[in-house]
Symmetry: C2
Subunit: 431 residues, 2 copies
């Protein structure tokens, strides 16, 4: 008893590390500090960590939300000095070292060291009216919302008698030719052509029109040119129409306009711009146009060595001066660096500056093809797809999720099942 009290007292004298955001960056910090002599509090607006790289599979009815999300409490459950809280940041008082929260039991929390890892949301480039017309894909709700829209479009087409409206319902426009756009286009095409094809009596889902729109001159601009070309060919094989150099000029309830061209559609999906969370405003810090906070090469605020900003919220540059991309491995790398830096400081050691090591790029195109770039190595096709699958399953947090995802994938691969094609989220009264 006496011993326990002493341990408790020691603990309260430990520095308090406050981590905002339980994404890949935030959780890597916690993981890296699990044996350090610090108290840690993790605050997120959600109770779960989300494996965002597979979110498009929830949106296209391949996986269930619980298969790619795990409660934060269960991830950090065995670390005795970690506290998890639900909360939404409203401001940060850097002078008094306090973070303020909105509408929750905790009004504010003090910190000795602060890690801001609050991620990013969609950017509609000033067209906020597009938010409802072309939903983006960042949260579980976004994914089930898009899933509902896609499945309802087929349902409505089945009972629609006007051929023009039916065509509109069977047209899907994805805006943005990065990995998310490419993966969504491939997955919707397979959903329509393989899974839904035998479900309907009046319409032919396999005649659905899927259009991928990219403002730049090639798909997957972060990848090597030949991989972009491969992705283009692979998507065309899946009957996806592709418009390059075609910036969207307007999104309306019944169409997407690309300058003169008018794509008649009832379902537009946004996979284009990203905007960092409000961290720059909370911190009164300098940011770039996408809202990313400018940090030192120690990933701290210039005037505040006790405040780290990482992941999609930070503007970090690699050795060549290019911004580090908003990818899960990059956020994890930064999280590990911050944990290391904090441990070094506590033991009075110098820390090196952060150096980004780009692991690679990967994107999948439908169910048998992917493109992978790992340094000089470039892979395409089935081998790349298998490697992609293995990498994603390996990194899925929580053993249970891994087993279930493998079964789901195998099952839907063998049977083209599309097991999770539920339309949920509308509160119906019972008939």
């Amino acid at each position: 008893m006496e011993l326990k009290r002493t341990a408790k007292a020691t603990e309260t004298r430990m520095p308090h590390v406050l981590v905002l955001g339980a994404g890949f960056g935030g959780l890597s910090v916690v993981q890296g500090l699990r044996k350090a002599s610090v108290r840690i509090t993790v605050v997120d607006q959600r109770n779960h960590h989300l494996f965002q790289p597979l979110l498009y599979q929830v949106a296209t009815a391949g996986l269930s939300p619980a298969e790619i999300a795990a409660p934060i409490r269960s991830i950090v459950g065995r670390m005795p000095r970690v506290t998890v809280m639900l909360g939404e940041v409203s401001g940060i008082d850097t002078a008094r070292r306090l973070v303020q929260f909105r509408d929750t039991g905790i009004r504010q929390l003090p910190y000795d060291l602060l890690v801001v890892a609050t991620g990013a949301c969609h950017s509609y480039f000033g067209h906020d009216e597009w938010v409802v017309l072309a939903p983006g894909l960042k949260t579980v709700e976004d994914a089930t919302f898009i899933r509902r829209r896609i499945l309802l479009a087929f349902e409505r087409a089945e009972t629609e008698t006007d051929p023009a409206e039916q065509a509109r319902l069977l047209t899907f426009v994805i805006v943005g030719g990065g990995p998310t756009g490419v993966e969504m286009a491939g997955a919707i095409s397979e959903l329509a052509r393989r899974i839904l094809a035998r479900d309907f009596r009046r319409i032919h889902p396999s005649l659905a029109r899927i259009v991928l729109v990219e403002a730049g001159r090639r798909l997957l601009p972060a990848f090597a040119e030949d991989l972009s070309a491969y992705a283009l060919r692979a998507l065309k094989r899946l009957s996806v129409e592709i418009r390059l150099g075609a910036p969207v000029t307007s999104i309306e309830p019944d169409c997407v306009r690309l300058g003169e061209e008018r794509l008649e559609t009832r379902t537009a999906i946004w996979a284009a711009g990203v905007q960092a969370s409000d961290a720059a405003r909370w911190l009164g810090a300098e940011a770039d146009r996408a809202g990313r906070v400018k940090v030192t090469d120690h990933l701290t605020l210039p005037a505040h060595p006790e405040i780290f900003v990482i992941g999609d919220t930070a503007l970090v540059r690699d050795a060549a001066g290019r911004p580090v991309p908003g990818l899960a491995p990059a956020a994890k790398e930064q999280g590990r660096y911050v944990a290391h830096a904090i441990r070094s400081r506590l033991s009075g050691r110098q820390t090196q500056v952060f150096r980004y090591h780009h692991l690679g790029n990967l994107a999948t195109i439908g169910r048998r093809s992917a493109v992978i770039e790992l340094g000089q190595l470039r892979l395409t096709g089935l081998l790349a797809w298998l490697l992609w699958g293995a990498a994603h399953i390996f990194f899925l947090i929580g053993f249970r999720n891994r087993v279930v995802v493998i079964i789901d994938w195998l099952w839907s691969y063998l049977k083209f099942g599309g097991g999770a094609r539920l339309i949920t989220g509308i509160k119906h009264q019972q008939q």
Copy 2:
């Protein structure tokens, strides 16, 4: 080509069976008619069939929605003469044999034979203001809504500083001592005491107070007396408080009143009354107080032998004159009878009257105990629980669901994982 056209022409001359509702009753009709010379249309407001007996496990974070729901289209996908449509019934013109729908591409559908199997919803006995305060459990959205409320109550308790409010947040009141209420109370208790116990730092979820309230004098009134007594003892072992003979007099945002007694709580759950769907109104038919349509012993409307009403929507009596209970096996039995009756009519044979064979009652209490009544056989405890699990997995529609549910159950049984404890459904802006 010529052959196909002839086949098509023959098909359009076949009688058209319109089935409203794709629950256990409706789908049994379709299943029983799969080889009959009829065209079938199934209309439901949802795109999925729901395995309602396991819905409480979604509400208590044990299973995911997709594990207990399957798209109607994929269940009937291989039956060539079956058409599936999404639609919400607004009225039935029995004279012209037309069903009207709200807000969809199909405005109305004609029928030769009509099967009304539209189920039931909650009844708050005239207290409609309780709907939002004490949600019931009928749909996937109901279940994820209750799951969110339960999990958020623990989250809020963790950050709450007022001890009275903390106690209120950690109190859960379940109204109704039938199978759903008993199963919910047991599952919430285990969620609190086994799964969440190690997740929190400031509160002790195992101190959560779970109160099961029943207006009658015993739990599980449809079961034998000794099984009611067993359920009571088993729930008490799980630290569930039980109030018998205690009708709810009022539900408020911060309490449930039982006459003089005031149970302070932020989470009330409704498992008490059930009200049949609006079928009696659509049909202009006679109904009992719970809205169940009075049918002949051929399960048809007295003046309309072409209209069948089955399942929770119908008032059917057994040989002893007691109403047939609103259970899945009863609805399936009625569905099979209707399919048989239709086939007999088509071939000019007489049909027997419907005779209900009560299979039995079962309810589970936590993770190692259940009560089962099969004719004279009565089982309790672990053996009953294993039988319950086997029966439910066996009847789960869709092989994939079965495998995944087994894994989920095994996993959470071995590890007390509670894999699906996600709080979803609130549209957040990104931090």
